[in-house]
């Protein structure tokens, strides 16, 4: 395991690596437990990919996915809780041209709110995505974590899963998440963090850095609520300094510029929005002083 000092050195270096598809070099971040670099902006699938059997909607999501990979995307996050999202993802992945999804970093979850077999959910995800081994398998919202984490560590030892993680969202259960981060040798932790929901800065982000745990950030746009608040308002002058051409890139660059963050996973159903999101992988990031100024200015503007 990489220690905190080495991790911060790697994060500060912020290596630029070109994706296999030949897209422009994009910002990557190292996974502390292995040093493996992944693009700092990925894709979530909550609601956006839960489109059932509609051929029209699936085809539209295929275009979103093509754009994602073409612009340097890697991590895609899903869950059995997300309805048909994993089915739709698998359908889309099967229709990409050879090589288009080489950069896929597959992340999903086990979720058993009414009891159930986590191992069978892992097998089901492998079947639906057409992926094996999975890159990240997470315990969704810590449900039955005491049961699922040992199983996932066993799968990791057996090579079925590369990394193990835990998740929460909406700013909830931070105490339980912190406890699990201390108690278990997890590789990833996922929680909510954005320009207005910054509670994670107080404890979870520093703890993740200390423990060498990669951080996936969900709800980077508060499910679109940030756009409702800021759309139509002029972007502050520093937005141009960091190459943020739109509000999505402002929000994402704020998140991924935190040294403890590995990857943010905005969800979208639209190609145009995917283009905006992936633009955050290019250009400079704010330093600590500018991040503080951004937080102040955006809180005032909200």
């Amino acid at each position: 395991m990489i220690d905190r000092r080495l991790f911060l050195m790697l994060a500060g270096a912020a290596a630029l690596a070109g994706p296999a598809t030949g897209a422009p070099p994009v910002l990557t971040r190292p996974i502390p437990s292995s040093g493996e670099a992944i693009p700092a902006v990925g894709m979530g699938t909550w609601i956006t990919f839960n489109v059932g059997g509609s051929e029209a909607l699936r085809t539209a999501r295929l275009e979103v996915l093509k754009t994602f990979f073409a612009l340097g995307g890697g991590m895609i996050d899903s869950s059995p809780m997300y309805g048909t999202a994993q089915n739709v993802l698998g359908w889309c992945l099967a229709r990409l041209d050879p090589g288009q999804s080489d950069a896929l970093f597959a992340a999903t979850k086990v979720w058993t709110p009414a009891g159930g077999d986590g191992a069978s959910q892992v097998a089901n995800a492998e079947r639906l995505w057409g992926v094996r081994p999975f890159d990240v398998m997470q315990v969704h919202n810590l449900v039955d974590a005491d049961e699922h984490l040992p199983m996932l560590f066993d799968l990791k030892a057996a090579g079925r899963v590369r990394y193990v993680g835990i998740t929460t969202s909406h700013g909830s259960r931070h105490g339980a998440i912190a406890e699990a981060m201390r108690a278990h040798p997890i590789d990833f932790v996922q929680f909510t963090y954005n320009v207005l929901d910054r509670a994670a800065e107080d404890h979870l982000l520093p703890l993740a850095a200390d423990r060498g745990i990669a951080v996936i950030v969900n709800r980077p746009f508060r499910r679109g609520a940030l756009f409702d608040r800021f759309d139509g308002k002029p972007r502050p002058g520093w937005a141009a300094d960091i190459g943020a051409a739109n509000w999505a890139q402002v929000f994402l660059k704020f998140i991924i510029s935190h040294p403890a963050v590995t990857c943010a996973i905005p969800a979208t159903s639209q190609v145009a929005h995917m283009r905006e999101n992936m633009g955050a992988l290019l250009g400079p990031l704010p330093d600590a002083a500018l991040r503080a100024r951004m937080a102040r200015d955006l809180a005032d503007l909200a």
Binding site: W46, I47, T48, N50, V51, G52, G53, S54, A56, L57, M81, Y82, G83, T84, P113, R223, S269
Partner: protein, 214 residues
Amino acid sequence: MELPYSIAAYREALVAFNTAWFPAPIIAPLILVAAAAIGRLRGRWHTALIGYSLALVCAFAGWAHELTLMADFNFLAPVYGWAWITQGVLLAIACGVPGAVRFTPHRRRRINRAVVGIVALGLIGYPLAALATGFAIDALPVAGMAPTPTAVVMAGLLAVVSGRWSLALWPVPVLWAGVAAMTGMVLEFWPDIAAAAAIAAAFGVYIRRRGWTP
């Protein structure tokens, strides 16, 4: 509060649902029209005819819409589906127990007109409202197929029900009003909010008829 699916995904799914079950999207509302028409009559068998008709469409909506369609989209759909099936079973049993339920028009015409209005809202108003919000004609959620318009029609008919089991028939439609209101707000689909209000109004009629006042 969020739902795991979008209104666009639901619209598309309803097209496939209504197509797969055709001609049920026409027959099911007609069953409810017949039940409402019977409600204006008095006779030995009219309670059983209304009750069994409602029981049939409740159970069908629960099974077809929630357990087979929405279960893919929404992890709560199985709970909803079994609640509707249970409501159907309860209605069917109640109709077979003497004195358990009686569908009896109110003595005041104004109340009866309100009940007819609520039933019409579920049968005609709700699908038309969905059409107005962008649902295609083959994607319309109709009473007897989708729980929300079914709940509106049922609430209208339950407003004029009496008998010692009558109160037991209200938890599912009243709780569904809450589900519809929440769904309407999250998906920004105002017909669901209107449906919730109609169910609440019908329950208010029932309560007043029972002589309960705040």
